[in-house]
């Protein structure tokens, strides 16, 4: 009786992992695509190119900062490094913040994967909302900081 239970348990675990691997395998092509696009992005778009977009006009820079953050891909460490350089170049902190927040909350490069796996409608609403929130969060953060300091 106990042996049978153990056998059933092992079968259950095996089937659970088989199901997980299958589910994961269906997402693999789209994930590989995203990884390949990240490779292209990092080769063809340099940090200097991203920094050059900022002009010094706060509103324009904030909107563009969020846009550049949204289309950028890769480790957020890069965004902090670029952000640090932009601080030295006296770019508005609101623009830098919108860039930093959009980098990690909006994913244009990852969008095909998100839409395929989690649904197109979900991905559209989430990313559009993420873009708007990146701007709002940056304004709120910098204004709060200004009030405190």
């Amino acid at each position: 009786m106990r042996k049978r239970k153990q056998k059933d348990g092992k079968k259950g675990i095996a089937s659970a992992f088989r199901k997980a691997s299958k589910s994961f395998a269906t997402s693999l092509p789209i994930m590989l695509s995203v990884i390949l696009v990240v490779g292209l992005f990092r080769t063809f778009v340099s940090n200097r190119m991203l920094s050059a977009v900022f002009s010094g006009e706060v509103l324009r820079d904030t909107v563009i900062g969020a846009l550049i953050g949204s289309i950028s891909a890769g480790n957020p460490v890069n965004s902090y490094i670029i952000g640090g350089e932009l601080v030295k170049e006296n770019v508005s902190l609101i623009a830098i913040t919108s860039f930093l927040v959009a980098w990690v909350t909006v994913g244009i490069v990852q969008f095909p994967a998100e839409a395929t796996i989690l649904g197109r409608r979900f991905a559209c609403v989430r990313n559009i909302l993420g873009y708007i929130l990146a701007i709002l969060v940056s304004i709120a953060t910098v204004n709060t900081l200004g009030m405190i300091q």
Partner: protein, 182 residues
Amino acid sequence: MKQKAVSQDRVKERKGAPYHGVYFLGLVVFVYSLLFLFQPEKIKLSLKISTDVLLQILPSLLLIILLMGIMNYFVNPETVSKYVGKGSGIKGWLLAIFTGILSHGPVYVWYPLLKDLRNQGMKSGLIAAFLYSRAIKIPLLPLMFYNFGIPFVVILICYIVVASIVQGWVIQMAEKQVLLQT
């Protein structure tokens, strides 16, 4: 009737999903091949970067498969519903935000697990909150403190948590609205 239409849409979406991935992969491979004709060195570099990324995220991928397997074995729709489903309340929001902050690796490796959880009853709003709160990267905080100062980072983190709740709530409302309209 309405619910049936929605579920048929979801089935369609699930059936079509793997092919979308393959088509997109085909498109990316085509772009690589095309660019290789003009800039072979840059394409080789892109491939090297992509391979490095893949190797870097490999442990995360294995962790996700492990988590999915464990979840399939131990977690049932009732448990999911209790902790991150309709009846989860504030506990669900806290769980989504904290696990989002603690999660690591690229965001796309988490999509399959989130899809499985949603199929078992996780609210879309909590998925959005999880994804948004991933903006807080604990291991990278020292670098942020160094570049932008502690007060800025603390305020930013607070607003990110608020924004993750706002985003989750709006998505939750939008989903309800869509269900009512369909």
